[in-house]
């Protein structure tokens, strides 16, 4: 291979599909390292603190698409204190200095400021796509900067961000010359948008395939927009809360009818049941449907819609659908691959119309199911066993029983056997979240059978350090382990320290890990950052704290080549 000209080697590398493959070939020899790094077009940084931004961009100066992830996953549930970190600034600044050809930036759980967006907009003349997921720290002013300066913008996708709304003007900053939009998602913007500006923008975007509106967009505006976008493939609706107003909805129905390419629907913010019949003509062609923001639709509305969606592959609903509704899904949606059932009541043991029966029904009707997120009132080992038998193709299995430590609803036993069946039968399982009453036994099963597992989420589970050790020793491909409120202590933390260098990160909160244990870990493993967050503010209190034997509230451990980060707030102690 070394006798081939570099262009040939580079060409061969272009066939490598994954980041890890490219990482591997770069280790073979210096020539390959050089060829690979200069030809790498897409860089994925799973933990923004694992490497210094400067180092990443200097290694890959010709990167076109950069993805960076910031806060740990449990930040989604308010377990990471605000101001923890995850700043986009250093990444955008480093890229601005070294990677002028950058075209796409994707960021998840990071803090992005308007200044950062301004810099982004001005630094990359070929910039095409910005995707921000669960980020915060910016306002519509930053979006205005992106709109006005990114002349070739194809994609602006804002998913579930916390955006400071400074008014509707941002949308008007797209110049008349901007005709390249393919995907626009501003569903998370809280306030009004200028409907005239929106209509004109859509009218001059012939390539628009995905459009997700926010709650403020009226039915009439939606109708006008859809009249211009017959090739739309993905739509997030605006306001559908109005009670039955025949003329508006009838017009909407007639434009929807012309959208023959429309495959995916979402939005439905508090949608009124009277809008549902107008969606019927679309149902037969839908592959994706998200009704999880419509608590106003009851079992009957939902089933009437879903029973017509014979091609559905992805469904997100609320538990209002109930077990009976899931039965209808099971009989109608034979191609279903992904199902998410969200709770409508957020109390710990709140009411949920969904139990193990719904899940069993789904599993027997939808044999292609591979991805599940299921919030429910109760579960049984029997049901989980049946589900595992029916659907051995699970890649992602996340089950959340609303009441922590709830046992098998029929037998009162722990749910060890049920989850054991899942890991045993679903040999391709990569992600697992568990709940309910669980002992060390379930971890034994996981360690033994879940050989492809990459991410594991544990809450209120296990009896002793042995539980965590089973996982640490058995799951060879484990990348992310996150644990809360479980009795794992220093023994488990220190039982297999070398493992942490093969993983992206470990999170432990409200467990039995002590300050001393963390210190030992940090001293044994210099390639890890061991971050401690305690309720007590200030490091001086932490030292006085009789000791080393005081428990650590929150622990975040990750491998890094960057050393201790310098942007940590004072409640974070890095050992």
């Amino acid at each position: 291979m070394t006798y081939f000209p570099e262009e040939v080697v580079e060409h061969i590398f272009s066939f490598l599909p994954s980041h890890s493959d490219r990482n591997t070939v770069s280790l073979v020899c210096k020539v390959w390292y050089e060829v690979e790094r200069l030809s790498r077009r897409s860089v994925f940084v799973g933990n923004c603190y694992a490497i210094r931004p400067e180092r990443a961009v200097l290694r890959f100066p010709n990167v076109r698409a950069l993805t960076v992830k910031g806060k740990p996953h449990f930040a989604d549930f308010n377990l990471v204190p605000p101001d923890w970190g995850g700043y986009a600034g250093p990444w955008i600044e480093a890229a601005a200095r070294s990677c002028a050809g950058l075209e796409e930036l994707r960021m998840k759980r990071m803090v992005v400021s308007d200044e950062n967006l301004e810099l982004l907009a001005r630094s990359f003349p070929r910039f095409k796509a910005l995707v921000l997921i669960s980020c915060e720290g910016f306002s519509t002013d930053g979006l205005a900067a992106i709109a006005s300066h990114c002349k070739l913008l194809r994609e602006l996708d804002l998913q579930e961000n916390d955006v400071d709304d400074r008014g509707p003007r941002w949308l008007s900053f797209f110049p008349d010359s901007c005709t390249s939009l393919v995907s626009l998602n501003f569903a998370c913007i809280k306030g009004e948008v200028n409907s005239g500006a929106l209509e004109r923008l859509v009218a001059r975007s012939p390539n628009l395939r995905s459009l997700r509106l926010n709650r403020s967009v009226s039915v009439d505006t939606l109708t006008k927009i859809l009249a211009r976008t017959p090739n739309l493939e993905d739509l997030g609706t605006g306001n559908l809360t109005d009670e039955f107003q025949h003329e508006s909805y009838a017009k909407l129905a007639s434009v929807l009818d012309k959208c023959k390419m429309l495959k995916s629907l979402s939005g439905f913010w508090d949608a009124s049941p009277s809008c549902v019949p107008f969606i019927y003509p679309l149902c037969h062609q839908l592959t994706g449907l998200n009704l999880s923001y419509a608590p106003t639709l009851d079992y009957s509305d939902l089933t009437k819609m879903v029973s017509r969606c014979v091609k559905l592959q992805r469904l997100w609903v609320l538990d209002c659908i109930s077990d009976k509704g899931l039965q209808v899904v099971a009989t109608s949606c034979k191609d279903l691959q992904e199902l998410r059932v969200f709770p409508s009541d957020f109390y710990v043991a709140g009411y949920s119309a969904v139990t193990e029966e719904g899940l069993v029904a789904i599993s027997s009707g939808c044999r292609k199911l591979s991805s599940l997120l299921y919030f429910c009132h109760q579960m049984t080992n029997d049901a989980l066993n049946t589900v595992a038998e029916n659907c051995p193709n699970f890649i992602r299995f996340r089950l959340c029983i609303l009441e922590p430590k709830k046992p098998d609803a029929m037998t009162g036993q722990p749910l060890d056997e049920g989850f054991g069946a899942i890991v045993r039968k679903c040999k391709g399982l990569r992600r697992l979240s568990m709940s309910g009453l669980l002992t060390d036994k379930v971890f034994m099963y996981i360690g033994e059978y879940a050989k492809q597992l990459e991410m594991l989420s544990i809450a209120f589970a296990g009896d002793s350090d042995k539980g965590m050790m089973h996982v640490m020793n058995g799951c060879k491909h484990l990348r992310k382990l996150e644990i809360r409120d479980s009795p794992f202590g220093d023994g488990a933390l220190l039982g297999n320290v070398a493992k942490y260098e093969t993983m992206r990160s470990l999170w432990m909160s409200s467990c039995n890990v002590t300050f001393k244990g963390c210190q030992v870990l940090a001293s044994m493993m210099p390639m890890l950052n061991v971050e401690i967050m305690n309720e007590l503010v200030g490091s001086s209190e932490m030292e006085e704290n009789h000791g080393d034997h005081s428990k650590v509230d929150k622990l975040y451990v990750y491998r890094t080549t960057a050393g201790a980060r310098d942007d940590a707030p004072n409640f974070v102690k890095i050992l």
């Binding site: 308010n78 579930e160 710990v348 119309a353």
Partner: protein
């Protein structure tokens, strides 16, 4: 004789509905309730209800549990506020308990129950069983579903309906009065 024992006819001083405290089926508290992890936060609701410890599990809030993204929770919160503002504008009284009278065929006294304290039809049935003893096995004669009584209710239109057909949330909105009927009449 059996009826007298089952009916809780003990006279008490106190507001209606406080006898509901005995009703909740023995909800098993998690084994480690005594050493509940620090991430549990007691909801303030326990102070305002008149049956504070009867149904603690349904009102406790644990930080970050259930694991639902803040974005989703905020979306619902905003919607719920808007919705309750709409309904309080429409209806006069709102919030608090939803007390309805319960009568049982043949019983001399009526009772009152707060429908908001139950999660579903099963809990309601259990509650009525404790009050009236109508569903416990000792009163069954083994026929059909093994039970002589059915729960019926009077809805907004004044019609007598069999409970259980509509989702619970819809039921509590439309139920004005409960009536426990003899099975023979209900069929």
């Amino acid at each position: 004789m059996v009826m007298e024992m089952m009916i809780d006819a003990e006279l008490r001083l106190g507001p209606p509905g406080c006898d509901v405290t005995v009703v909740q089926p023995a909800r098993k508290k998690p084994a480690s309730a005594a050493k509940r992890p620090s991430s549990v936060v007691r909801s303030e609701a326990s102070g305002t209800d008149d049956h504070d410890d009867a149904s603690p599990a349904s009102k406790v809030q644990v930080v970050g549990w259930p694991p639902v993204r803040a974005y989703r929770k905020n979306a619902f919160h905003a919607a719920a506020e808007a919705a309750s503002a709409r309904t309080t504008a429409k209806k006069g009284e709102q919030g608090g308990g939803l007390y309805v009278k319960v009568s049982m065929d043949g019983a001399p006294y009526l009772r009152k129950v707060d429908l908001r304290t139950y999660d579903g039809y099963r809990e309601l049935r259990d509650a009525l069983d404790v009050l009236f003893g109508c569903f416990s096995s000792s009163s069954a004669d083994g026929g059909g579903g093994g039970c002589q009584f059915a729960i019926a209710y009077e809805d907004k239109d004044g019609d007598l309906m069999l409970a259980g057909d509509v989702p619970w949330d819809m039921f509590i909105c439309s139920c004005k009065k409960l009536r426990i009927m003899r099975g023979s009449e209900a069929r």
